[in-house]
């Protein structure tokens, strides 16, 4: 199975070199693509010099759009699966093989910070927010998920086909909404415990106001997805596939 590691990155010049260096020990850099989401620093040139492929957005479109580009890149270049790996040094490379192995029997595997076996430390408020979001998402996925917003995940061949056609682009909604979207296409989602590093760069948003807004927004997106039908592009792709089988 050909696996692509996709790294969405925005202004990560300070850490991207180090991230790619540690990544190279776990995965060949020829099968790594950095999706530079409109960085204004040297992120793209550093990544290219390190030996990874770089796709640059001319303007900033958000993580969801960056992953959408990565899935299209994967289909175009004949990959079977895509691992999302953050460019800020939060994710650990030793879990990459575990994600690939866990793909056997599932379409999407999520690396969970809160699953049994993980040791991620966070405040009680943050944890309860994550628990609420994960609880609601679990209802959709019909399986117990403890960390729906984790950006450390792998999408197998069937999920890749769906995500290359349509991947959610709304701010902060992509991680959760993609799970619901996949579930509605009868794809299976599971999770494995992972450890994560403290963020090397950037400051996580901690204010109560932002956290509330974030939770409300994700719950709104989840509620919305209950009334939403299949995205038109996904439906067309499925009709094409059925037509091909019939022909």
């Amino acid at each position: 199975m050909r696996v692509l590691v996709a790294v969405p990155a925005l202004n990560e010049a300070e850490v991207i070199g180090q991230v790619l260096k540690s990544l190279s020990a776990a995965h060949p850099l020829a099968d790594v693509v950095i999706v530079d989401d409109g960085s204004r620093d040297a992120t793209a040139s550093i990544a290219r010099a390190a030996g990874a492929h770089v796709v640059s957005h001319a303007i900033n479109l958000g993580v969801g759009a960056a992953m959408g580009t990565a899935f299209k890149y994967a289909v175009r270049n004949g990959y079977d699966a895509v691992i999302q790996f953050d460019g800020d040094g939060q994710h650990r490379t030793e879990h990459i093989h575990e994600l690939i192995e866990a793909l056997d029997g599932a379409d999407i595997v999520i690396g969970s910070r809160f699953a049994v076996g993980g040791s991620y430390k966070s405040s009680a408020a943050r944890r309860s927010v994550q628990r609420l979001i994960a609880g609601v998402t679990s209802l959709f996925a019909r399986t117990r998920l403890t960390d729906a917003t984790s950006g450390f995940r792998i999408a197998g061949p069937r999920a890749l086909a769906v995500f290359a056609e349509h991947y959610p682009v709304e701010w902060l909604g992509d991680t959760v909404e993609s799970i619901v979207l996949a579930t509605r296409q009868n794809l299976t989602v599971r999770e494995i415990p992972v450890d994560m590093n403290e963020r090397a760069g950037g400051v996580p948003s901690q204010s109560v106001f932002r956290a509330t807004l974030y939770t409300a927004r994700i719950l709104f997106i989840l509620g919305l997805s209950t009334i939403r039908s299949v995205p038109p592009s996904v439906r067309k792709a499925r009709q094409r596939a059925i037509a091909e089988v019939a022909a």
Binding site: A58, I59, E170, W171, I221, L224, I227, S229, P231, P232
Partner: protein
């Protein structure tokens, strides 16, 4: 048919239109919140005229219909302002994307010549 029923029907049509557009992925979430609030407010105000009267009395406005006009005018102003700002931002992004594309195509053709 009383005018109130007409008002309620129009408000419900607005809400259904918003939901149908949301459902088919035409209307993005970002703008949906505003339109959902507007549609629900229209339904509440048309189904419960007493509310408008009460709020008018609170502000000391003699005729309730004036409050409706002022309120609607203000909401329209905010919506238009939001659209104008979005349009300005989108134009700016489009310009940058096209410039970037032009430079990259030129670079690619030069690389092919070598």
């Amino acid at each position: 048919m009383t005018p109130q029923i007409l008002a309620i029907v129009m408000a419900v049509v607005l809400l259904v239109a918003v939901i149908v557009l949301l459902r088919s992925y035409v209307l993005p979430e970002k703008y949906a919140v505003l339109w959902l609030i507007a549609a629900v407010a229209a339904i509440v105000l048309s189904a419960w005229p007493g509310l408008l009267e009460a709020v008018s009395r609170f502000f000391g406005i003699a005729s309730a219909i004036n409050l409706l006009f002022v309120g609607a005018f203000f909401v329209m102003f905010l919506l238009l302002m939001q659209i104008t700002l979005e349009l300005a931002r989108t134009r700016d992004e489009l310009r940058r994307a096209v410039q970037r594309l032009a430079l990259d195509v030129e670079k690619a053709s030069r690389d092919n010549d070598n």
